[in-house]
């Protein structure tokens, strides 16, 4: 299975601290995306990084991609209580057909 796995499963930090979560996957990818899901809601796209990119920034978000290790990390700087949510990575690749493979998610709690 190509399904990604996020690490850690759960993370609790104080407001203002940085949060880092990781995603590992198993086969070649074209793109890797990170999504956020607030409790009881749908997923919201955060950032997309292509396989030929190594790092991308968007506001307080920084994503890195290491295709040799088949892993990606999402860094949220200066966290806020509103960042409390679950974060998922999703991959697609040359052999995945029409499917996106989502990981099991990291549950982030930011304590005010």
């Amino acid at each position: 299975s190509q399904q990604g796995e996020e690490d850690p499963q759960a993370l609790s930090i104080q407001e203002g601290e940085n949060a880092t979560m990781n995603c590992s996957y198993k086969t070649s990818i074209n793109n890797l995306q990170w999504y956020r899901q607030n409790s009881g809601r749908g997923l919201v796209h955060l950032i997309l990084i292509r396989s030929n990119e190594r790092e991308k920034h968007s506001g307080r978000l920084r994503v890195t991609l290491d295709t040799s290790k088949k892993s990606s990390s999402l860094l949220i700087t200066a966290s806020r209580a509103a960042d409390t949510a679950s974060y998922f990575c999703a991959t697609d690749g040359p052999n995945t057909g029409n499917q996106f493979y989502f990981g099991t998610g990291t549950s982030l709690t930011v304590i005010p």
Binding site: G42, H45, A90, N98, F100, Y101, F102, G103, G105
Partner: protein
């Protein structure tokens, strides 16, 4: 509409009954996905529609599950003879063009509870 709309938001049904879940994608989006999310889990791909092409049904867990997309817009996911293990949140997503692996826009989901 402004976003992907799903209805109902919650559905409670008895084991053995059929249910229909509706997804209204963003206007102009040609690709539409259905996913299932069990409690505390990631998303499980169910089915994919792209324009007028035949749908990719490879993720449907059993023949009790089916979906259609009428006129390239609204989609309905039908679960026949529901079982307790069907209880989950069913999420729909649409994107401009899946061939380009564009980002997906998700609805808020339908929470299905089978008693």
């Amino acid at each position: 509409g402004a976003g992907v709309s799903q209805s109902p938001s919650n559905k409670v049904t008895e084991k053995g009954k059929d249910v229909e879940l509706r997804c209204d994608p963003i206007s102009g989006h040609t690709a539409l996905y259905w996913y299932r999310q069990s409690l505390g889990q990631g998303l499980e791909f169910l089915i994919y529609f792209q324009g007028n092409s035949a749908p990719d049904k490879s993720g449907l867990p059993s023949d009790r599950f089916s979906a259609e997309r009428t006129g390239g817009s609204v989609s309905t996911l039908t679960i026949q003879r529901t079982q307790q293990e069907d209880s989950a949140v069913y999420l729909c997503a649409s994107s401009l063009d899946s061939l380009a692996k564009n980002i997906q826009y998700f609805g808020a989901g339908t929470r299905l509870s089978v008693l």
